[in-house]
C-alpha cells in the first residue's frame, strides 16, 4: 500500500526555518538525507521530492481563452508543501511509524515535534465488480 | 526544470462530487487525456491521486518517539487531491499546463476553474540552506 508523508509549513514557518542556526539546518538536512537512504535500503521508497521555498509559488487558473492567469498572493494561514516521501508499506501503522521518525527529526524544538500529514495514495489493482 | 502542479481541492468531511453521470464521465476522460498527452510529450514525470481526507492522519512523534495520530481537521483546511510533476523548459510552460488542468470540466460541462498551485521542485537541498 502506498502512502504519502508530507511536510508542510506556513510562510512564517519557512521564514522561521531560514533563521535556524546553521548547525540545526545541517543536522536536519543530514537527517533527511539518511532517512531517505534508509527508506531506499529497506525497499520501501517510491518517490521523494523537496520543493522550493514558497516565495515564487503561483496559483494558476485559466482565462476564458484557456491561457494561464497567475496569482502570487496567499493568505498568511496557507500551508505550503515543503516536501514529501511516498512509501510502499504493508500496513498503515508502518507509514505512521515512519512519519513519527520525521516528526522527531532534529531542529529547534521550541515548537514541539513537527506534524506530518499521512495520506493513502490511489493505487492498487481494480477489483472485479459483481 | 521540474515543477509540481497541485490541486488542493479537497476539504475535510466532504464527500465525492455529486455531478450527473455524463459530467462525471467527461471529467474523468479529461483527466485521462491530460495525463496521456503529458506522457506523450515527455513532460510527465509523475502523477498521483490521493485518498479522501477522512483517511488522512496528522502524525506527531510522542515523547517516546511513538506515533500519535490525529484524524480530526478544521473545516477550512485544504487537502491535496492530487498532483502532477512535469519536466519543462520554462515556468510559462508549467503555467500553461496548470491552466489546462484548472479548466477541467465539472457540472454542466463548465470549466471548474480549480486553483492549481505551481511550485518549482528542487533537485538538491535549497542553496541558501548550505
Amino acid at each position: 500500500m502506498k502512502y504519502i508523508l508530507m511536510m508542510t509549513g506556513t510562510k512564517a514557518d519557512f521564514d522561521w526555518y531560514a533563521t535556524w542556526p546553521k548547525r540545526d539546518l545541517q543536522a536536519q538536512l543530514a537527517f533527511m538525507h539518511s532517512f531517505t537512504k534508509e527508506l531506499k535500503d529497506s525497499g520501501v521508497l517510491v518517490a521523494t521530492e523537496g520543493l522550493a521555498f514558497p516565495n515564487e509559488a503561483k496559483i494558476v487558473r485559466a482565462a476564458a481563452d484557456g491561457s494561464p492567469i497567475t496569482d502570487g498572493v496567499f493568505p498568511e494561514s496557507k500551508e505550503f508543501l515543503a516536501g514529501y516521501w511516498i512509501v510502499d508499506v504493508e500496513t498503515p501503522d508502518q507509514a505512521y511509524q515512519l512519519a513519527a521518525r520525521v516528526s522527531a527529526g532534529p531542529g529547534p524544538k521550541d515548537r514541539g515535534n513537527q506534524p506530518i500529514e499521512v495520506r493513502p495514495v490511489m493505487s492498487g489493482p481494480p477489483p472485479e465488480m459483481l | 526544470m521540474k515543477y509540481i502542479l497541485m490541486m488542493n481541492t479537497m476539504r475535510a468531511g466532504e464527500s465525492v462530487p455529486k455531478w450527473p453521470t455524463k459530467d462525471l464521465q467527461a471529467h474523468i476522460a479529461f483527466m485521462l487525456n491530460l495525463n496521456k498527452s503529458l506522457r506523450e510529450s515527455g513532460e510527465l514525470v509523475s502523477a498521483e491521486g490521493l485518498a479522501f481526507p477522512d483517511q488522512a492522519r496528522l502524525v506527531r512523534a510522542g515523547k517516546d518517539g511513538a506515533p500519535i495520530t490525529d484524524g480530526v481537521f478544521p473545516e477550512s483546511k485544504e487537502f491535496l487531491a492530487g498532483f502532477w510533476i512535469v519536466q519543462v523548459d520554462t515556468p510559462e510552460r508549467a503555467y500553461t499546463i496548470a491552466a489546462r488542468a484548472s479548466a477541467a470540466p465539472g457540472p454542466g460541462g463548465a470549466p471548474l476553474n480549480m486553483p492549481i498551485e505551481v511550485r518549482q521542485v528542487m533537485s538538491g537541498p535549497p542553496p541558501e540552506m548550505l
Binding site: 493505487s123 472485479e128 | 502523477a47
Partner: protein, 416 residues
Amino acid sequence: MTPEPDNFEHLLRELAPQVLGAVIRRFRDFSSAEDAVQEALVAAALQWPREGVPDNPRAWLIQVAARRMTDYLRSEVARRRRETAAVMELDQVAPSAIIGSAADQDDTLILLFMCCHSALTSSSAIALTLRAVGGLTTNEIAIAFLVPEPTMAQRISRAKRSIKDSGVRFSLPTSQERAQRLGAVLHVLYLIFNEGYTSSAGPNLQRLELSHEAIRLTRAVHHLLPDDAEVAGLLALMLLTDARRAARTGSDGELIPLTKQDRALWDQKQISEGLALLTKTLSKGSIGAYQLQASIAAVHDEAGRAEDTDWPQILALYDLLKRMSDNPMVTLNHAIAAAMVHGPAAGLELLHGLDTDGRLSGHHRLDAVRAHLLEMAGDHEAAITHYRIAASRTTSLPERNYLMTQAARLDESAGD
C-alpha cells in the same frame, strides 16, 4: 530444435529456476547463486539476439552462472584469506558436473518453498518469487509494482538476507511442514494473480501481466504436484477468473461489473481448461477453499448470459466456503449471493453481522456491497449515500470512478 530468438525470453524464464537450482546445489549459497543466475540471464538477453540461441541453452546459462560464482568466491576467498588449496579445488570443478542433475524437477518447488517462507513479508515473498522462480528481471518486477528499480532491488536483497538468517535449507520441506509451506506458496501465487494490473500513472511502458505470471508459475507447481487438489483448484480459479479479463474494463479503463460484461469477450479456451481441471479435482472427493472459489467462478463462467447464472448453486458454494473461512470478504460475497436467491432484504440482513466486525469497519467494500443491495431493494437514496461513502474510501482510482458513476446514475433516475 533450436528455439527462435524471439521466443527465448520465455525460454529464459522457464530455465531460470532450473539453472538456479543447479547452481545452488553445487555452491550452496542461495543469495549469491541468485545474483549469478541473474547476471547469466542478462548476458543471454544481450548475446542470444545477436548470436542465436545456443544448442543447449540450459548448459550455457549454468556455465555462465557458475563462472560468475567462482569469480565471486575467489574474490571472497582472497578477501577472507583462506587457504589457496580451496581456490585450486574450485578451479577443478567442471560445469558439466552440475548439469543434468537428476533432482532438477524438484528445484522449482524447493525454490518456491524457500521464496514463500513465513520469515518473509508478503511483498518480499512476491518480489523474490518473481525473481528467483519467475526469472523476471528486477526492472520488470519494479515496473509491475510501480516502484523504482533500486527500491525493488533492495526489497529482493533484503528478502534473500531474511532467508539466509532464517536458516532455511535448500531442500523440500518435511512431510509435517509441507501442508503449511505449500499453503504459503499458494497464497503468494494467489496474491501475485490478484495484483492484476494497475491503471498506469507513470510513463507508458510495456507492463508485464502479473496474472499471466501467476498462472504460469501455478501451472508449473501443478505439473510437479499433479495430485494436489488445492494446487489444481488454485490454477482452475486463476484460469476461470482470467478468462473474463478482456471484458472487465472498457475502452477508457472503466470497470465493467460481472453482471454487465460482454460474455463474447470471455476466453472460452481458458474456461474449458479451468472447468476440466476442476472436474478432475472434484471427482477425487476432497474440497478445499481454492476449489470452492474455483467452483463459484465456474458457475459464473458457465452462464451464457448474466440472467442464466445459477445463483442458488453459488449460494450453496458460499455456504460451504463460509464454514471453512472466516474471511469477511467471503461473507460479503455470500450476502450478494443470498440477495440474488432470497431477495435483497436477506442479503442486507447478513451484512448486519459485519457492522461490528473490526476487520471491516470503515472498509469501502462493506459500503459498496450495501449500496448494491440497497439499490436492489429499491432504496435508492440510501444506495446513493453508500455508493458515495464507498467511493470516498477506496484507494483504487478505477473503483472510485465506478462507484461515483453508480451513484450518479441512480441519482439521475431518481429525478425522472
